[in-house]
Assembly symmetry: D3
Homo-oligomer: 245 residues x 6
């Protein structure tokens, strides 16, 4: 099967890292396509950035539909544009926050999210609530690292995040840790070893969940509010987004 | 004070109607500016439409900041882009679903929303939950009218919506009705008279709530996740959205 | 319009202060009548005090109805008698806890209440739940000041409350502060300046919310459990409360 | 032990019926005192009636404290004044809605309340939520009988209520029925026989719960918001309610 | 009446202690039978132990039905097998966690559970949620004592638990304490005296609740999911559990 | 990898069917072992049956640990013994209700469960709540088929269940259907085709979820309440369940 992993920011080094981690867990017969959109923010650290990442994500979904993609992963922990993407994709679409939180609920009675900036903690809480995972989420902790520090070779990011994970286990008394940024995907196993508890990365989990759905032939229901959008006029800069009937 | 009412779709007749209803309830010293964005969908009837209405809304907010606007109303019942708008506006920003649901909770123990297409009912439920208003919301009912039928002079819209409101009172045993589309703002008093129960229109309520906040000098807290977004690069078609520090 | 602000305790200095703050934010054409009931406790610091403040509040509402009052504010943070008042008033009735909590939810993702005695914290939590505002309320903090200390000229109240607000911001990580007593209404702007975050006073917010509802011609629905009470015999000391049909 | 059952309305025939049913289930060594207050409404069918029943209830609690009462039951399904009563009583105080709902949760996975007028249904829902019993409550059904019809010898009340109970079982698929008015206490066994399912009467349950608490020497905690109210001035008609320190 | 108290573990000293405490609060005409099952774990400190205590509990219920037992208490704070027991018993069945939590909600606005090992805290939280008591439960605290240390004459258990209760009052600001293990039943009054706040023991409360239900002739509804199980084949070691129709 | 699918009842035809459906979706390198326990009920249709299926399930898990099993699926829609199994297994353990409900939440905004007997509906609701999936579950519908009717060649089961699924779509307005019994696993695709909406079978979903967790090297956290049980004595018929340290 063909899975498209969309990194909603335009930072190519992160997209490559995400692609590598995805390929490392995919089935032999799964082809992973990892992309960044053609437009939008270099990183996503606010509701503003998130909202403005969505046109680029939808552009990639519309492209993917023409390319015969079987399923999609949106690889930003805010799961931006997830519902809109489900409306226009034929195959399943999974967000990495969604995949990671659900996986955490299968292996522990509680988890803590360790993310980047404090200002994004609320976004993670809202997703936990939306997905029914709030009851398992003991805390969302900011490491106060900007997202792009995860891409800087000599940065202290690795140590700072590992410390935040260790602190989460001790103070929140959580059973496991959910990494709150796609850019942390390559740190997952290393941190798990360092802290001696399960650490969950949404990128790899989402790849496996998408594969699972495709394998059992499940895709987004088109009966309800995720039905294909109605055709209509789109004005100005966004006129390209008008769909056919 | 200067309030900007943003109709997130590009249908000008609806924007004018919204402006008129807003002016009818505003204080003598309030100046109402009603606009449609320069880009985006002709009507909002899906997550896809909603997501793609946000760049246009944010464009109007950024313009408004340069025009010295004191407060904003987002006049679509999905309250699209509300949190992103709060990040970039100095004054308060109110969504019409938010205003209507809160007002309903002040005058009744329960309300039903009467909206346009079924596929948007879930969006209203999600907002009710987000705002803490789910406990008052007994039902979200679709009239199965497309949004733009509300703009067609000879249409049956008025009767269909009045009937749906009457049915909501009878079957949901709700105390009052919330109109679930900005395009219904001019029908509010007429329907209230017809059904003999309070009918709440978000456009007029949001204008008064925005005025209230400006009057008591309250605006969006910048301490938490609605702080001003960090400056960063924006690529491609969206490069104009990069903010200064 | 004519708004009646009922301070449910019998302490006249507090009533005057409340009246002044209400007038400072009211529209030019709003007439504010601020009163204390003819009976009841000097301050409200328990369920017992609260229950026994209600006959006096209802007495003032019944009087107000004869005086042509358009809307009411109940100016005690426990919102005593709110539902009973709504049953007998023609116009809208707003509680100050209700108004403050709703306003807080428009400008922040979270608030802390700073109130007087610890024993009343639960009352505030119950209201937050009743109004659907529990999800925004991070903490209810007692300053352990008795209510009437707020009326003593030389008291330390101002400093103690400002400190509690500052602590709430730091420890609860709340976006804004809700003042948990009508007697704090005059401190609102000063504390906001001191702590650098929005501070919300229920008295002024309730005045504006009541004005808003009157302006858009919304009043308590009489269809449900806030319909006018049935006429019936009242015995003993309370015989005056018997209503006509 | 000495238990005082307070019927919060002033209808003496109901008080006598309540006393008889209470005595029928009490332990041999329990003395039941059943009273109506010296003031207040003839029946309780609104928030207004309920609020104005509380001064009479508290009067009886204050009297009871001087009479050496060991525990109290408030015998109106709205449990009026329960928290205020707990503040001033030494022994436990139980409401009949509270007792009935808790008992129902011990013997079934779901219950329906069958009560008098529709306008009081919301009060029952609020109590269910307050007590944590909302998850067991499938429905609150009004029989649309005024309370005092239950006292009229030749009335149809018995049949109407039995029918409503039968309908509740069938339509709500509830396991058992909670009677929503103290005036139905004498109908409990008869209805249970008629409908073939458990029917729960709050009066008898509350007597046994109060006995249970007294027997294991548990009474209201005085550490939190049910501590004894502070002494203070009470003005006007209510001056008698001022407590000593 | 005849009540059977089942201590689900096989430690006889604990069973005797439970029987004594139960008899001390029972009515004069109640006969208490306290037993341990014929099979199962020596103590219950995991989901595994709990699951494997249930066959022994059900064996005692089936025996009890032949002995004419009127009601049952399951005396382990995880309330193991409660719903299965209700399906096969004619009379009411009460769990001690259930009884203690409900009693706590009658006398305080909040409680903390003090239990044995940390790994069982989640079980108590799940029960609190199941019973609707989560809103009253501020904390579940482990003393990190293994259950059987409560049976060792010279152990420090008494002091350790009293200290944990005192800490709970101070740190959780709870109104009262629920003891989280049947083996603590004899410590209840002593700890209450030591800490100056109500302490609730499930064993004695459950006895009184079971007596209460039997007295008002209430027993498990057989209409819903607690109906008698269908007859069917049982294989292997468990063949004795096959029920007749 | 080696996955063990435990059908908790002793009906061998169902076990074989489950094994076949599991193999049809498994990865090429996954070996599926499908078993029934050596003891317990022929079908699971009550809390009693469910409780008594757990010793057999745990027996198979303990065996599996000696056989080098990498992950487990518990193939009964009540997910019996799931938490106890997680305590004793090294690899992940997934319940079929858990897997199906989570998968449903990835592809629709709402689902209805279609199950066997009415008396088991509550069990499904409890699981939905436990897993955080209650918000997506619109209804649990009984077809009133006994479980073993699904094994009878000439039975009407197929038609009855398809009809119940069709009715669920129409009346509950759900986006998709969750099959509420492992014995329905072979009907999944056929019903999906018949009703034109996604139908989710827990057996196949659980196989893929277990594979996913093993692939990303996640297993049950041993830090919290799913740590390995403490060694202790087990009496009587269950003495074989005593674990080593």
């Amino acid at each position: 099967m063909k899975l498209k992993i969309i990194n909603p920011n335009t930072t190519q080094s992160m997209t490559e890292k995400i692609g590598q981690c995805a390929r490392a867990v995919a089935q032999a017969d799964t082809r992973i396509i990892a992309v960044s959109p053609r437009m939008g923010p270099a990183s996503i650290e606010s509701h503003y950035d998130e909202a403005l990442s969505v046109p680029g994500i939808l552009d990639e979904i519309l492209l993917g539909e023409r390319e015969g993609v079987d399923g999609y992963v949106i690889a930003c922990f805010g799961d931006p544009g997830l519902y809109a993407a489900r409306e226009v994709a034929r195959g399943p679409v999974i967000g990495i926050a969604e995949a990671a939180m659900h996986a955490a609920s299968f292996i522990g009675t509680s988890f803590s999210v360790v993310t980047t900036l404090s200002r994004t903690c609320n976004i993670a809480w809202h997703l936990a609530e939306r997905y029914g995972m709030e009851r398992f989420c003991r805390n969302v902790r900011a490491s106060d690292l900007p997202v792009l520090d995860l891409e800087k070779p000599g940065s202290d990011a690795r140590r700072i995040i590992t410390d935040a994970c260790r602190q989460a286990l001790a103070e929140d008394r959580s059973d496991c840790i959910v990494l709150g940024c796609a850019g942390m995907t390559d740190l997952c196993e290393e941190i798990a070893d360092a802290i001696g508890a399960p650490v969950i990365d949404g990128v790899t989990c989402a790849v496996k969940m998408a594969e699972a759905l495709v394998s059992v032939r499940l895709s987004t229901s088109k009966r309800g509010d995720w039905a294909r959008p109605l055709p209509k006029a789109y004005a100005g800069m966004l006129s390209q987004y008008a769909l056919n009937g």
